[in-house]
């Protein structure tokens, strides 16, 4: 493929520069003189000018109404419900706390975290299924911050993973809470926000993969006699 202009005649080069509007004043005069003398060249220039004009006037294809939406869907698909739940859980948010609410939540958090963390780990074999006796149940309070939620439930080993069976109650400051009475053992659970968004518990000291890309919180409930308080 030859792509140099070595073989273009002087007049052709002038014509192309004329179409591209790159002619100097002197060259434009030179071309006009040639066009006056050469009818074939004149018709050729008219053809080229008309081609440029017709091409510039070609109708542009209509952009479909949903073009942008489809591009965005392909470029940045909306996250799944699970992903949204995780994002919502970890996204920084500003909370409007009132003093009473803050104090209440702080107290509840202290109770809940204490209840989970300071229990001794002397009975790692314990589990709901492994328990052969019926030790006294232990009260455990769960707390989660979900200021935008309309409802929050908890689903876990203790309720057949049915969040409808264990709804949380809203507190001031966007916190939700529930008190469970559980036999000693290890339980996994997740919160369910607005009926369908499964979220982990960021306050849990232990977490396990749930097999679906999220992490279940682990609640290790010990008999009261084993506490170190």
């Amino acid at each position: 493929m030859r792509e140099t202009d070595a073989d273009i005649t002087g007049s052709e080069r002038l014509v192309q520069q004329f179409i591209d509007q790159e002619l100097s004043g002197e060259d434009r005069v030179r071309l006009l003189v040639q066009l006056g003398r050469d009818q074939a060249l004149r018709e050729h220039v008219i053809d080229l000018e008309r081609l440029a004009l017709d091409t510039a006037r070609l109708p542009r294809p209509a952009v479909p109404d949903d073009f942008v939406a489809r591009v965005m869907q392909r470029a940045a698909p909306a996250p799944s419900g699970w992903r949204r739940a995780l994002d919502a859980l970890w996204a920084p948010r500003s909370l409007q706390w009132n003093l009473a609410g803050a104090a209440a939540v702080a107290a509840v958090l202290l109770v809940a975290i204490s209840g989970i963390m300071i229990l001794p780990r002397a009975n790692p074999q314990s589990s709901p299924l492994a328990a052969t006796e019926s030790p006294a149940p232990v009260l455990v309070r769960l707390v989660v911050l979900q200021p935008d939620a309309k409802s929050v439930g908890v689903a876990g080993d203790f309720n057949g993973w049915d969040p409808r069976r264990t709804p949380l109650e809203p507190m001031s400051g966007g916190a939700w809470t529930v008190t469970l009475s559980l036999p000693p053992g290890r339980y996994e659970y997740m919160f369910v926000v607005n009926g369908d968004e499964w979220v982990g518990d960021p306050l849990a000291v232990e977490q396990n993969d749930d097999g679906f890309g999220l992490r279940n919180a682990v609640l290790d409930v010990r008999p009261p006699a084993e506490t170190t308080l």
């Binding site: 591209d20 440029a52 017709d54 091409t55 070609l58 542009r60 942008v68 591009v71 965005m72």
Partner: protein
Amino acid sequence: MTRDEAADDEALVRASQRGDQEAFSLLVSRHASSILSVTTRMLGPVADAEDVAQETFVAAYKALPGFQLDSKFSTWLYRIAVNKCTDVLRLRKPGTVSLDETDENGGARWEPADDETPHWSLEQGELAWELDRSIQALPPLYRESFVLRHVEGLGYDEMSAILGVQRDTLKMRVYKARNLLCQALAHLDGVRR
């Protein structure tokens, strides 16, 4: 595109790079017509053209973090679009199409529009249809240069940045494309004049 529009693009690109999807959707909206125009002229008015136009923006979105704004956003987009069109054209004629392979007249793969009897009563729409079809019959290298020059109205410097080809080479391709199109449309002279 004016300097102000380019500056607006730059601000939208920077916002997009910070994760602002609304900013990127504005960029898509702003450039959709141009990109769809290029892909349609290059590939023909088929589903491919719209799909490739979408792919162009998707590819741009994914590559956005690495875009240093060392060229205009529109130049970068055109480059992606032309590359994607080239990929599609290669796939359409496997084993037979080399985009570097044209004879000196571009005649090896030049197909005249057709040998219809001239329609002396052609309306403008029909003329546009003939012209469009003739553009799409140009050898791909000539076609991309002609489309960017005369459909999109770009200058040779920007075309050089898009295609990575020297100005003089591009001028030669456009020159040959013009001559081929004039020949292809010669039978319409009666209605064009």
